[in-house]
């Protein structure tokens, strides 16, 4: 895997064009891309918020993410797609070091937020997770009141100086998450008593209450009905103005609807990255094409 100067090579359009044709015969839906696969498409953006370089993740012996290089732009929604077990969620979790909680998980490579290495030993992981918020697949409000759910983050980070300010922040977050009008009369009621879609929006409100810079969303709509999904998607589109959003999704329509860029993962390899429109209309790589046209996945 000695690939000096990887970036230059990938950015070289000639290389990107030639490569899939060379490798195509060996690609299959059930086997990883051959050793030394290089991502097709442009992995960099002009104003990156986060960038991952040569990221490898191992679960014990298993090599779950292989040499992934990807930039996450400021105020953009980037969708990570790919078949189950391809490593897109694992990659997402390396971005706010949630993988630290798994004993056997090991991450190598370099991930930076605003140019600062987030795996630096001196970096406070608690602060990182406040800057890089997360919304999970299953809505997971705390078994506390709606108010306390949203107020929890600001409280532990000491972000407000008075109760009034806290109430104001909670209201702002709930409004931002489009939930205020539905819950303003029952802030003291349990967050777990809301419907699935409301719970997920509550989780988003909770995440944005600490003013993160990046929001990671791990299949945020997979447990929701189409109407709730539509609301969340609308919300994601609005949030893009202020945050960078990385969303993992199984729904290609969703990726197409909400994201500006799309990255296709396959068994640990980042196969192709590009403008969402280009990925869905004119994928360069055979595997990407196979996945988005529904031949596997």
């Amino acid at each position: 895997m000695n690939q000096p100067n990887t970036l230059t090579r990938i950015e070289d359009p000639a290389m990107a064009e030639i490569q899939p044709q060379q490798a195509q015969p060996t690609f299959s839906a059930t086997e990883p891309a051959p050793e030394g696969h290089r991502t097709v498409g442009k992995i960099t953006v002009d104003n990156p918020k986060m960038s991952a370089r040569d990221v490898n993740v191992y679960y014990g012996e298993k090599h779950a993410i292989k040499h992934v290089e990807l930039d996450i732009g400021t105020n953009e929604v980037i969708a990570l797609i790919g078949p189950s077990g391809c490593g897109k969620s694992t990659f997402l979790r390396t971005l706010n070091r949630m993988n630290d909680t798994i004993d056997i998980c090991r991450v190598t490579g370099n991930i930076s937020l605003d140019g600062q290495d987030i795996y630096d030993r001196r970096l406070d992981v608690v602060q990182l997770r406040a800057r890089v918020g997360m919304v999970f697949q299953k809505p997971n409000p705390f078994p506390k009141s709606i108010f306390d759910n949203v107020a929890y983050g600001p409280k532990i980070h000491g972000m407000t100086s008075s109760r009034a300010e806290l109430e104001d922040l909670v209201r702002w977050s709930l409004e931002k998450a489009g939930l205020w009008h539905e819950v303003k009369d029952r802030l003291e009621q349990p967050g777990t008593g809301l419907s699935g879609g409301q719970q997920q929006r509550l989780c988003i409100a909770r995440a944005i209450a600490v003013s993160p810079e990046v929001i990671l969303m791990d299949e945020p709509c997979s447990a929701l009905d189409p109407i709730a999904t539509a609301k969340i998607e609308e919300l994601i589109d609005e949030l893009r103005e202020n945050y960078s959003i990385v969303i993992v999704t199984h729904s290609m329509q969703q990726a197409a609807r909400v994201s500006q860029r799309t990255a296709y993962f396959h068994l640990g390899d980042l196969i192709e990255v590009g403008e969402t429109e280009q990925i869905f209309t004119n994928p360069e790589h055979k595997l990407t094409e196979g996945y988005i046209t529904g031949r596997f996945g």
Binding site: M98, V126, A130, N140, F142, Y152, G153, A207
Partner: protein, 441 residues
């Protein structure tokens, strides 16, 4: 194809074996009967176990309920000055060691002026418990002004009179096989007829310590001993157990050492309790020199015994907290400790409390380890501190159960009832706490 008539592509099952055929109907009936039998087996097992429980309770209550009453005699006591303060010294010390037994003797002799012979007088004074003189001393010590006056005082009768009144003594037995002579029985009957004998609620049973005289023996000392022991056990085993469980569940890396620790904790939970007693004897008493027979050592030994139970229950409670809650808190930027104290512990608390209380209930009923550390001694005084010699309820039961007197038999059962009541209370507390702390939503 072995059957040309059957339609193509369908296996030719014999008509009586098809669904609804004769053979199939019989099969269904057999299955239904078997399922019914299966249900009755379970019901039968339940009925049998309930019957045993009812039998146990019925026999204990039947034997024990009489102990909650005690026979008292009314004595017209003359607090004679010449007996109590022959030399005029009314100091507290002199009063406390005055000749109260003489007052009791004089009073009971006075009730039967006809009795004159020395032997009969002795039989007469045997009707009154030796506790009577303590009773009189208490009266005088509380109010020395009674000296020189006369007063009616209810004093406990001996256990034999008590048995007679409670109908536990067979009057038809020959006199030599009875604990009370014909003469004594006639006196008791006389006292009964003029209302000088009465059964009252037995407060001594709950307030007094052990005694050689069954009518004076109580479980007050044992209850206090048990309470002190439980206090030590609770204060040590709950925090230590919960802290150990949190470390093992939330912080410890999974490796060979933690596996070893886990296996050993599970093994320790199954170690016979008497082994802990031996350990306590060797370590706490012989090595550390802590006072023998004390609730402190008892509590330490029971802590050792309860810890594995608390740790296992607490770990189970921690594991049952959904990981999504942890992830949510960590994802918000909560530190590990904040995640645990704000979210995990409140959710795990009901399970932890239940485990701790079940462990405590087990420790409350534990006898064997306490025998090893000397809490089986005959201790009359009610313990006043953690280092006073004491006994515990189950040990008191063990001690009384080996006493042959009829009065101790009923007290044994009464003590068992009290112990069972404590157990039920603790388990009820566990249920209440669980309900209270349970996720309110």
């Amino acid at each position: 194809m072995n059957n040309a008539t059957s339609p193509k592509g369908i296996y030719a099952i014999a008509p009586e074996r098809r669904l609804g055929g004769a053979a199939h109907t019989a099969l269904v009936q057999r299955r239904k009967a078997a399922e019914k039998r299966f249900r009755y087996y379970g019901l039968g097992a339940l009925v049998v176990s309930l019957m045993f429980l009812v039998l146990l309770f019925a026999s204990i209550i039947a034997k024990g309920w009489t102990a909650f009453e005690q026979t008292y005699l009314r004595l017209d006591v003359d607090f004679a000055t010449d007996v109590l303060v022959p030399d005029g010294d009314r100091s507290e010390q002199a009063l406390s060691s005055a000749n109260y037994p003489a007052l009791v003797k004089n009073a009971i002799w006075a009730a039967f002026p006809d009795v004159t012979s020395r032997g009969e007088k002795r039989q007469l004074q045997d009707l009154v418990s030796s506790g009577a003189s303590f009773e009189l001393r208490n009266i005088v010590m509380n109010d020395p002004s009674v000296i020189g006056t006369q007063r009616s005082v209810w004093v406990p009768a001996t256990a034999f009179v008590d048995s007679l009144i409670k109908g536990q003594m067979d009057r038809s037995l020959p006199e030599s096989e009875r604990k009370l002579s014909d003469l004594q029985i006639s006196w008791v009957d006389h006292l009964l007829s003029n209302g000088h004998i009465e059964k009252r609620f037995n407060t001594m049973l709950f307030t007094d310590g052990d005694s050689r005289d069954p009518e004076l023996a109580g479980i007050g000392g044992a209850i206090m001993g048990s309470l002190y022991t439980m206090l030590v056990t609770l204060l040590l085993s709950f925090p230590i157990g919960v802290a150990a469980a949190i470390y093992l569940e939330e912080f410890a890396p999974r490796n060979r050492w933690t596996d070893l620790i886990e296996v050993n904790i599970n093994n320790l939970a199954a170690v016979p309790s008497i082994v802990y007693g031996l350990l306590g004897l060797a370590v706490f008493i012989n090595f550390l020199g802590l006072p023998r027979s004390s609730p402190l050592v008892g509590g330490l030994v029971l802590t050792l015994m309860t810890l594995p139970v608390v740790i296992i229950a607490s770990r189970a409670a921690l594991t049952s907290v959904p990981p999504s809650i942890r992830e949510a808190a960590l994802g918000m930027g909560a530190s590990k400790m904040q995640t645990i104290t704000h979210h995990v512990l409140p959710l795990a608390m009901p399970g932890m409390l239940t485990g701790a209380i079940i462990g405590m209930a087990r420790a409350l009923g534990e006898t064997a380890p306490l025998l090893m550390i000397g809490m089986v001694a005959f201790i009359v005084d009610v313990p006043k501190s953690l280092t006073d010699p004491a006994t515990a309820l189950p040990v008191q039961i063990y001690l009384w159960a080996s006493s042959p007197e009829r009065a101790f038999v009923e007290r044994t059962s009464a003590a068992i009832l009290v112990l069972l009541a404590f157990m039920v209370l603790m388990n009820a507390l566990a249920v209440v706490l669980r309900k209270r702390f349970e996720r309110r939503w």
